[in-house]
């Protein structure tokens, strides 16, 4: 197996230039977006089949003028598939189209996927989209073809501020820890790493340094980061109870000799 790779995205140095989005589209041949106005600098909207990167502009500017410390009026974040260690999409995929590569990333095989969209239902990050054109699901491939040729993924290569850093996962952990310590030393105590440890889906191959709580960025916190299969037990027990009660109720009602006291014949 090749080395485990990852993205470490330091959101505190993201400037919202969207070079990552453009590079991703360019390299992967993804269609452009129809121009539309939104209530933000964000004209991408969300990740989908044609947008594997999405720079979020999170507007925290107060309605009333006020002094904002630490530049937290706008939070910027280049969002992408997290390539979870315990991936919800892989878990539910009925065709096994979603596989883990030799780089420990998560990849959708477009020639195996049949477009059932169960992965979209399961992904907690909205990172997967369905293409009406191809009829299958698509998401960030971690530039699998570039990895196979020892190239840096297009987004990380294009990022002008090194907000998106690519490399060996263990090396990135060290960089992230050092950066976090640096920010805390500066008094920016709200800074935190997301997906660095196993508390969220066993750890994320695309992990983040955030300047606020994960929910502010549209990311589930550790308490809400649940794999779909956790509902199997309860769901099946409820179903079993209904089946047993239903069968006995059916026998009680339908057995010979239980004609009831009348009816509206």
């Amino acid at each position: 197996m090749a080395e485990r790779v990852g993205f470490f995205t330091d959101t505190t140095v993201c400037i919202g230039c969207k070079a990552c989005e453009v590079a991703c589209k360019e390299w992967n041949g993804l269609a452009g977006d129809k121009a539309e106005f939104r209530d933000s600098f964000d004209n991408t909207g969300q990740m989908d089949a044609e947008n594997w990167r999405h720079v979020k502009f999170i507007d925290l500017v107060p309605e009333a003028p006020a002094v904002q410390p630490n530049g937290t009026a706008w939070l910027l974040m280049s969002d992408v598939c997290k390539h979870c260690t315990h991936a919800s999409c892989m878990e539910v995929c009925p065709t096994n189209a979603i596989v883990r590569t030799e780089y420990d990333t998560v990849f959708i095989q477009p020639d195996v996927c049949n477009g059932c969209r169960n992965c979209i239902s399961a992904c907690p990050y909205s990172a997967i989209g369905f293409s009406q054109t191809t009829g299958v699901a698509h998401k960030c491939s971690f530039c699998y073809d570039r990895l196979q040729n020892n190239l840096t993924p297009a987004c990380a290569k294009a990022c002008p501020t090194q907000s998106i850093q690519f490399g060996n996962l263990d090396d990135l952990y060290q960089k992230a820890d050092a950066r976090l310590a640096n920010l805390h030393a500066q008094g920016i105590n709200q800074a935190q790493l997301y997906g660095r440890d196993e508390s969220v889906y066993g750890g994320l191959h695309a992990f983040y340094l955030l300047a606020a709580e994960p929910e502010v960025y549209g990311l589930p916190n550790a308490a809400n980061a649940k794999l779909p299969r956790h509902n199997n037990t309860g769901g099946y027990l409820g179903m079993l109870a209904a089946a047993v009660i239903g069968v006995f109720a059916g026998i009680a009602a339908l057995r010979n000799g239980t004609h009831g006291s009348g009816g509206e014949q």
């Binding site: 477009g115 969209r117 239902s121 399961a122 209904a242 239903g246 059916g250 004609h259 006291s261 009348g262």
Partner: protein, 280 residues
């Protein structure tokens, strides 16, 4: 409080239609088997009706599921692994969709046997149909579990959907058989099917209550209380009324077309509101 950031899978009419028909197919098969084992000899015509319908319904179910796929010609990828170097069968016991495809396929075989039996005079050993009932029950309810095994709001916040879909499938099947039996003038069987529907309506009501309680605990009940969905939920409850009323008054309807259709509409509507309310 549960927070969700998942995108909706855009499962729409084909899926709602599949959930509806799968409930009726499985329920019809199970109720016919119960009537064959425990019913009167005079129930035979209704048993035949109950064994006739699962096959056509399962065929339509398979059609709906296939048409809903983005690439319908790859339906068989659900069963066969086409990943290079990993040839074999696809079966994930932890993925209800994977298990469900197999269960539907196997139930289709039992439905075929039942269909053949319904068209002839020879009876298959009842043990075969008892085994078939296991798959029928799974097909009736797994669709609800499938929704729960996701990260979608509402669906993943409750354990009640599997039981709710199964109870509702029973109710719909009882109404369907009662209606068709009524048209075929089988009064005694219809009376007992009416009582069965009453019991199933109570069961469905209990699961609806469990559904709302679990959503309340998760903090996502607000979606179901939006005006459109609330109205539809009230309509679902209204369609349960004949069954509940029959239980209370010891009458044993539905034995009329109107009531049976109302029950079937309720069965469909419940699935519609569950599927759509979480996504839109």
């Amino acid at each position: 409080m549960a927070e969700h950031f998942a995108a909706p899978p855009n499962w729409q009419w084909f899926i709602v239609g599949y959930f509806f028909l799968a409930g009726l197919a499985g329920g019809s098969y199970v109720l016919a088997t119960i009537m064959r084992i425990f019913g009167a000899p005079s129930d035979a015509p209704v048993v035949r009706i109950g064994y006739f319908w699962p096959l056509p319904l399962v065929i339509v179910c398979a059609l709906f599921l296939t048409l809903d796929l983005g690439t319908p010609l790859r339906f068989w990828h659900m069963l066969i692994n086409t990943t290079p170097g990993e040839a074999g069968l696809n079966f994930k016991y932890w993925s209800p969709m994977s298990v469900g495809v197999w269960a539907l396929s196997i139930f289709g075989f039992f439905a075929l046997l039942a269909f053949i039996e319904s068209r002839g005079r020879a009876l298959l050993p009842i043990g075969i149909h008892v085994v078939g009932c296991v798959f029928a029950l799974y097909v009736m309810g797994y669709t609800g579990v499938l929704l729960s095994v996701s990260n979608q709001p509402v669906w993943s916040d409750t354990w009640a959907l599997g039981g709710l879909f199964l109870a509702s499938g029973f109710s719909g099947a009882a109404a369907l058989l009662a209606w068709l039996g009524y048209r075929g003038a089988q009064p005694q069987a219809v009376v007992r099917l009416g009582r069965a529907d009453a019991y199933f309506s109570v069961l469905e009501l209990l699961f609806i209550i469990a559904f709302f309680v679990t959503l309340g605990i998760a903090g996502t009940i607000g979606r179901e209380l939006a005006p459109l969905w609330l109205i539809l939920w009230i309509l679902v409850l209204v369609t349960l009324a004949p069954g509940l009323r029959a239980l209370y008054t010891r009458r044993t309807v539905p034995d009329s077309t109107t009531i049976a259709i109302a029950v079937l509409i309720g069965v469909f509507l419940m699935r519609f509101v569950v599927v759509f309310s979480a996504q839109y």
